[in-house]
């Protein structure tokens, strides 16, 4: 009887070890091969082309997918073939769309008027507009005046208390910097939205065609000290992405140049990920008058 009882710990231990069964994750690849996709029971060619057309045709395939603990099957025509696609959406702060904001929550902002705003619009919420402004962007999912609801805000999470807090629409390619003055830093925002089926992620780069300059090619100088200051005759930008590896747009007001510079990045697949760039302009006393122009290109680059 005593021996039987003494066996209990040993049996328990063996039972524990018995659970240590092999856990095989089968994959259709080895060090030497990979089967991307294959067709079974099909003859002839599924592509054809001439100088003026290209056709990828199919007939009679059944699309579907099934799986168990040890395998995964995607069936159908070219089920295993797809090219990485990146969708890139860039919009500028529409100055004429400004409405005052009185309060905000994680996904809503209360405004003085919702006229001109529609579901699907991208909006920019700014607290204390000016050189030290804090902003966030979102995409409108519903409007129940005076409350605008967005899918999610991305940004620094500004505190909206109704004092110099504004909401703008992000729309189109023309960026209105407004009337520049030597007594303030003028700001304007460029926002973007990326959906990319690229597992390694992506980066967004900014590049200019030339300095911000008037018709006589008189420029407002690029910021060089990390801060665009009132009356200093400086122009620069700072990104909402605070973890950039290869530029200073994450930590300081930085000059935009004719070389591609990183302003945002992600390291995995992205669905509607958003960032924005805040441009800051502070003309110097005696700055030549006129309309200042520049083309800024935001370039999506998928990681490799």
């Amino acid at each position: 009887m005593q021996r039987r009882w003494s066996l209990i710990p040993l049996v328990t231990l063996l039972a524990f070890l018995a659970g240590n069964v092999p856990q095989v994750l089968a994959v259709m690849s080895s060090a030497n091969y990979s089967i991307g996709w294959d067709s079974v029971g099909v003859g002839g060619s599924d592509t054809s082309s001439s100088a003026t057309y290209k056709l990828r045709d199919n007939f009679g395939f059944v699309q579907g997918a099934s799986s168990s603990a040890s395998y995964q099957l995607n069936s159908g025509y070219r089920a295993g073939v797809y090219d990485r696609v990146a969708d890139f959406n860039v919009n500028s702060q529409l100055r004429s769309s400004a409405v005052a904001a009185t309060s905000a929550t994680a996904t809503t902002v209360t405004v003085t008027s919702t006229s001109g705003y529609s579901v699907g619009d991208y909006i920019l919420v700014i607290a204390n507009e000016g050189s030290g402004q804090i902003a966030e962007t979102g995409k409108i999912t519903s409007i129940a005046s005076p409350i605008i609801t967005v899918d999610a805000f991305n940004g620094a999470g500004p505190t909206i208390d109704g004092s110099n807090d504004l909401v703008y629409r992000l729309s189109g390619s023309t960026l209105d910097l407004g009337t520049l003055t030597t007594s303030a830093v003028t700001t304007s925002v460029i926002g973007w939205d990326v959906t990319a089926d690229v597992a390694q992620g992506y980066s967004i780069y900014v590049v200019e065609d030339h300095d911000l300059q008037n018709a006589d090619s008189v420029p407002i100088a690029d910021v060089a000290d990390g801060t665009v200051s009132v009356g200093a005759g400086e122009y620069g930008a700072i990104s909402s992405d605070t973890s950039l590896a290869s530029s200073t747009f994450d930590t300081a007001d930085t000059a935009i140049t004719s070389a591609l510079q990183q302003v945002a990045s992600r390291s995995d697949n992205s669905f509607s990920t958003r960032d924005f760039l805040t441009l800051k302009v502070a003309p110097v006393s005696g700055q030549a008058s006129g309309t200042y122009t520049q083309t800024l290109s935001l370039i999506y680059v998928g990681d490799y």
Binding site: T12, N89, V90, N91, S173, L212
Partner: protein, 306 residues
Amino acid sequence: MSATTSLRRLLLVITALLFFVLPNYVQAISFTPTATDISLMPGDTLTKTFTLTNNSTVAKNYQTSLNLVHFDSVTHEPIFDTWPASLNSSVTVDTQTFTLDPNQQKTVTLTVTPPTNTTASSLVIGLIVAEVASSASVQVTPGVSSLVFVTIGQPSVLPVITSFSSSSFASSSLPIDFTGNIINNGDRTLQPFGTITVYNVFSKRVATFDMNPTLRRIPSAQNRAFTATWGATRVTGNFFQELWREVTNPMIGFFTAELLAAPYPGADATLSQTTHVVVLPWRALIIIIGLGIVTTVSVRRRRSRR
């Protein structure tokens, strides 16, 4: 009322009207593929096609451009250099500028024809398609790029595994991360392709997983770390949560992990390295041993009573 004041009011009214009258327009594009490879011999010609779609609600003009690309050794970010005129006859794009209506697509074809006397080498081309600004003011335009990794001939392939290790030598349960560092000392862009296989002390295979499932590339003179996880990733819990984990997902013993990979798809698997880990579910073992002691003591007490 002065003429200036009247003009200012008129401008304000026009601006306000424009906000309500003009439809909100989306400025968007999509592009595919975002990275691709070309491998050819000197004198041969290969083409790659790329598809751009205008997802904006209005027609847009676009312009293509080429850049030579190299990579920052620390951040690994691509750096777009000026396109050298010496490559103009070897690499061409079939279109420079074009216009797309909303939702219209355009196929851009890149043709690569290295001269017959080109030495075996590799280069990276940055194809950029960017929207052309429509008017003179401050304009913001989107653009997209595809990195084209070109291999000409058979350049040297010299990958070196500088390290292969687990996140910790001893763990109480899964998951365990295995990280392999590979440096590309050759001239060919690498795309390590292989598996990490875990064997138990009886040399029986326990798990196999891809070491680079997304086929990340390693440009020449660059190094990359590839991490694969054995077991499902999770957040570390308290003592009892970890104990439950050890009991419901039992794993114990000494294991050997073997990294076996080819430097790029289609090449022989020449990259090999092993490392070892110990999985010791100490919480579960303490409980089991404790139960054993309690059981033994109680049995002895019963026996002594008899």
